[in-house]
């Protein structure tokens, strides 16, 4: 039903143990033109969007991967043990702050949350959801943190831009909130489709 090339791409994505980026696919299939590969990939994506079935082709962590549809999880977990545990509110808050504000120091996270975050931060590091990016060039040279590829992978995000839009701050005045905002490298304000069933209030 598909072209030969899209079948090859399908087999590559299917057999890879993690998401395969378009770049990586082009690198592996160097006898094909990049345009050809992109066209075949588009064909494949369209085919999976149409088809339904038990699993789908999703774009996560900058690559393509087959994953089961969330709707069937209650059947799957009868057979397979869940590996990812529930995240606590403090872990999610900390993760959200790091995701939106990276690169960020621990002191900045703690200022935003109003509580000590050392323990949470360490557990996020151990789960590989957060990584150390280096040190900030300010006195004391504190460590700076950011989210990892695993974060995108586990939370099923294509990239950092696909993070849910932050609700607009009802600004008190027109002044920027913090000087620190300059560090923001993300533009989460750009319209990002939030999961429809999860509205912000």
């Amino acid at each position: 039903m598909n072209s030969e090339l899209s079948s090859i791409i399908e087999s590559l994505i299917f057999s890879a143990e993690s998401a395969l980026s378009t770049d990586r696919i082009c690198e592996l299939l160097n006898e094909f033109e990049r345009d050809e590969i992109k066209a075949a990939l588009t064909e494949l994506i369209a085919c999976y969007q149409e088809r339904g079935g038990g699993f789908e082709l999703v774009e996560v962590a900058g690559g393509w991967q087959f994953r089961t549809r969330p709707a069937f999880h209650s059947y799957i977990t009868r057979h397979i043990k869940t590996r990812t545990s529930k995240f606590s509110q403090s872990a999610l808050e900390t993760l959200a702050i790091i995701a939106y504000r990276q690169p960020i120091t621990r002191a900045e996270v703690e200022h935003l949350r109003g509580v000590d975050c050392g323990g949470v931060l360490k557990s996020l590091l151990e789960k590989h959801l957060v990584r150390i990016l280096g040190k900030k060039d300010i006195p004391g040279r504190p460590l700076i943190y950011g989210t990892s590829k695993e974060f995108l992978d586990i939370f099923g995000l294509k990239d950092l831009k696909s993070l849910p839009t932050l609700r607009e701050i009802q600004a008190l005045d027109e002044q920027p909130q913090y000087e620190r905002q300059e560090e923001l490298q993300l533009e989460p304000a750009k319209a990002i489709p939030v999961e429809s069933d999860l509205p912000f209030e």
Binding site: F14, Q89, Y100, G114, E126, R131, L163, L172, L198
Partner: protein, 266 residues
């Protein structure tokens, strides 16, 4: 304002009872002072941009007192916020600025807190939305079976993938395994160590061929820094990793990397 009625001393106790009932089950639900404040604002149906500090402060302090009455340890972070609230409240009570300078508008003492609350609220909500996603390994699964083709093929030489935390953690695990005296660590105290300084110098020498002593201490010209840097240089010299030059008497000290040995032998 109906809420103000609670301000009377005699009503304080029943209110506290309410806290006991209401929170004893949910104590751990509050994820810090910001979370508690947001809860109080919501409960009192206050506008987050125009909160009544008097109401919020009293209820916040009541809550902390309730925690204490339940013999729960109140985290320092909650007390810091209590202090902040009291400070804002006291600033509100101060007479407004001098009439003589009407153009200097006093900023609302609540502004900073409100800004923090609004921002915190955003991240709290974003955290909830992110947490409600279908997670890999929980609601969504990738293929678990291994391809016979893949298990047969051996990985040759791909790019390496490792995180900094794994590196530090490996080192930490190692240190826990072996007795401390096995280490030739110099001055592991809080201050600048010779080891750190050696690493810094080696790092510099990767980028440039010559380094001047003054460059090393310029940013932090303290007695300690100069001594530690000097000791680090001596150590590197002893290891024959660098060669030191001095142009003239009391002139600047230069050093260059000693010629590295060929890398054929291991």
């Amino acid at each position: 304002m109906p809420i103000e009625a609670h301000g009377h001393r005699e009503e304080h106790l029943p209110l506290l009872d309410g806290f006991h009932e209401q929170y004893s089950v949910h104590l751990d639900k509050f994820d810090g002072p910001m979370d508690l404040l947001l809860h109080l604002i919501k409960k009192n149906e206050l506008d987050i941009c125009d909160i009544s500090i008097a109401v919020i402060t009293r209820q916040y302090l009541d809550f902390i007192k309730a925690l204490k009455d339940l013999n729960l340890e109140v985290a320092g972070d909650f007390l810091v916020m209590a202090a902040t609230l009291l400070q804002i409240k006291s600033r509100q009570l101060l007479p407004q600025g001098d009439q003589e300078e009407p153009e200097t508008e006093e900023p609302d003492p609540r502004d900073e807190l409100v800004r923090r609350l609004l921002e915190y609220q955003q991240y709290k909500e974003a955290g909830m939305v992110i947490g409600a996603r279908a997670l890999l390994g929980r609601e969504v699964f990738s293929r678990a079976a291994s391809e016979p083709v893949l298990t047969a093929a051996q990985s040759v030489e791909g790019p390496l993938e490792v995180s900094l935390f794994e590196l530090v953690d490996a080192f930490r695990a190692l240190l826990q395994r072996i007795p401390a005296e096995s280490f030739h660590d110099v001055a592991p105290g809080d201050s600048l160590s010779i080891a750190d300084c050696i690493i810094e110098i080696l790092s510099l020498l990767q980028e440039q061929d010559t380094v001047q002593f003054d460059d090393l201490v310029r940013d932090e010209y303290t007695r300690e820094r100069v001594i530690v840097t000097f000791l680090a240089l001596l150590e590197l010299c002893r290891l024959k990793l660098i060669r030191i030059f001095q142009g003239s008497e009391h002139g600047s000290i230069w050093f260059v990397p000693a010629v590295a040995a060929d890398s054929s032998e291991v």
